[in-house]
Amino acid sequence: MDLFKGLVLGQYVPVDSIVHRLDPRTKILATVLLLGVLFGVGAFAGLALLTAFLAGVALIARIGLRYLLRGIRPLFWLLVFAVVLQVFFGEPGGHPIARWGPVVVTRENVTQAAFYGWRLILLVLSTTLMTLVTSPVEFTDGLERLLRPLQRVGVPAHDLAMMMTIALRFIPTLLEEAEKIMKAQMARGAEFSRGSLATRARALIPLLVPLFVSAFRRADALAVAMEARCYRGGEGRTRMRPLELHVRDAVALLLVVAASVAALLRPAAG
């Protein structure tokens, strides 16, 4: 029972590569930039260029492309839904290529659907790629550092980052625990994937009650452990590994900016 096999997002792959060694701030900024650019791109050529760019980064980071593509799986149905909706109920007018009663499929709508689908895939892949090459601790460190200027306007940067670290840290733990409890209940004859929706919802009670009990117990233990080590927020806290920007970060950011500009500059076509 590998129940959560499909879950790639948020799964750090600890290998050593120049991409992994980049400062987390660089990776976060690059991702945010790419996400922004993806919404601005108007042509297939731009998407193709960004796809090639992402594939290149994955290659350098030694992340298998097939593994990366698995990140789409949880969103598969959303993707299908969005594309189908666009194909059949897109803008009226254009060149019809098929017709079922009142429903007309036009060439323009098919092209649009392909474009949106592709863009959605790239949105997911770029964030997935970032989580694959950035450890959760680095990620939140980077985020905290990036949010620090906002502290002056009252954004609790440290606390947000700490909450995020804890949440990320406990995702795998809770998944593991959920799997264990699920198996324990299955050993007692429980079924989780059979019957009507109502039956299945009821079948979750023996899983959710123990999971919540244990999550609360863990939260309690964690709070005590943090207080025992004199945690009192970010005030005056020093770091074991301070973040440092290197030449490679500047180069990486320049490359991302270059790719973004190139993707945006292509004349609108298709």
Binding site: A184, A187, G189, E191, P206, P210, V213
Partner: protein, 288 residues
Amino acid sequence: MIRCEHLTYIYGRGTPLAVQALTDVSLEIGAGEIVGVIGATGSGKSTLIQHMNGLLRPASGRVLLDDVDINASRVDRRRIRQQIGLLFQYPEQQLFEETVLADVAFGPRNLGLTEEEARARAHRALEQVGLPPDRFGSRSPFDLSGGEMRRAAIAGVLAMEPRMVILDEPTAGLDPVGRRDLLDHVRRLHHDRGLTVVLITHSMDAVAQLCERLLVLDRGRLVADGATRTVFADVARLTALGLGLPQVTRLAHRLRERGLPVRADLLTIEEARVAIREALAVRGRGPL
């Protein structure tokens, strides 16, 4: 009754994090046996036993219950799980119902028994683990002590009325009294009711006292399978595998080093008492 043939299992197959957890494990456990499974942390003990009731499917190899492949498509997995009861580590985490009785009856209810029959089974199972149902049945499982919760969870598996129970570290985290109580109950289930028992544990003392046969796992391979006494005789090998000896056996070795000719393969305190007396008699009650 249960036979594993060339089991191999890989966690996270097809991802960069793949780990081979079992390699070519073959073994057979007969009805009425009480078998211990030992091995260092990460040696594949828990992975192995999850194959025995179909919670994990082997990457290659087969698991046969009474000569029927339990992973065959037409086999009802629920029936397998009824026959092979499996108790995970820290099983008190699986408790969820409002009362102890309802929780223990969860398994029987899943088997499609009537509410009455499920409750009757829950009653019997609670008796078997020493939690009188009239005192404990109506309490919330979350109000019990650690040891009581553990026993309630065991009752939850026994209520399925399995032919074989697999216990994964049933004494972990219990105090000495709780530990002894629990092992006593396991012994009684085996002796009085003829239940087949597979016991995973880090306690060499527990397996020495309870198990007739030992399976030793090392990094996913079965490296020893034999009578408890024979397995503990190979001290050098056990040490190399990161495992120890039962305290009584260790004592026997120490005494021999000091020149007292006791047998080296002692397993229980009673055996040791007899052997040390005999050895002392032979030596004419000289000082050690």
